[in-house]
Amino acid sequence: MTELLVFHALAGLITLCSIMVVASRNPVTSAVFLVVDLFCVAGLYAQMDAHFVAAIQVLVYAGAIVVLFMFVIMLLNLEPETMQGFRVSAPEVGILLVTIVGFIGVAVTMVLGGPSGANGGMTPEVIEQAGGNTFAVGMVLFTRYLWPFELASILILLAIVASVVIAKKDKPAAKDGAVAGKRSLTNGAR
């Protein structure tokens, strides 16, 4: 019963914050609502007994990604966006409908013929006996998923190099005259 209550509180907060992320005009406000949203998702993971994923969510998402967003928003010093008319084209409506229908399809499949709760083997009792969720996830991660784990480190290395190269300042000998006026980022930052 308590579990259901916690779920409903977190789900309400997540819904509210997701709408506010999209709807607020100022990007800083959106980023703050995104932090609250991600924390609530972490709480939802904890409520689902996925403690390792909850910790990673707080550390990586709320701790690193949103801070990165904040840095860029404040570095670029954007003014609040003027909400012009929300024009939606036909393909976009199609994408939205396909999304909702797809989720409903997955839900119907899972509710009707899907998981019975007995076919996995990693029941809460087994996980508890093995030493907790983090231990069990670690055992799976470092045995069956060792190779993807190592590939993830290569992906991160590539992302580091790519972001440094992309965001690097151009050589001053660039010969394009069209962009000369818009170089100054912020006062003194560059």
Binding site: I65, F69, T99, A167
Partner: protein, 100 residues
């Protein structure tokens, strides 16, 4: 135990918010934030399904999705900075050079 379809309803709402954000907002940073929302919605489905079938593979998948999301955010924001430095604005109405 909360039934799994409630998690799916929540994820649908969150994912739809992300898609509406991508369609409605003209700021490139807002588009990236909406992508993060959508990835989180998918993560919720993964963990809920992982618990429903008593299998930890879903949580491993969430781990990898978070890794990829971090890389995507870093590279995407680097591209935002490069675009801002080159053109002075990050408006998706303005940045349509690749649209043919």
């Amino acid at each position: 135990m909360v039934p799994v379809d409630m998690y799916l309803v929540l994820a649908t709402v969150m994912f739809t918010c992300g898609i509406v954000g991508i369609m409605a907002r003209r700021n490139l940073i807002m588009v990236l934030m909406s992508i993060e929302l959508m990835l989180n919605a998918v993560n919720i489905v993964f963990v809920a399904a992982s618990r429903a079938v008593n299998n930890l593979d879903g949580q491993i998948m969430v781990f990898f999705i978070i890794t990829v999301a971090a890389c995507e955010a870093a590279v995407g924001l680097a591209m935002v900075i490069a675009l801002y430095r080159k053109y002075g604005r990050i408006d998706t109405n303005f940045l349509r050079m690749l649209r043919g």
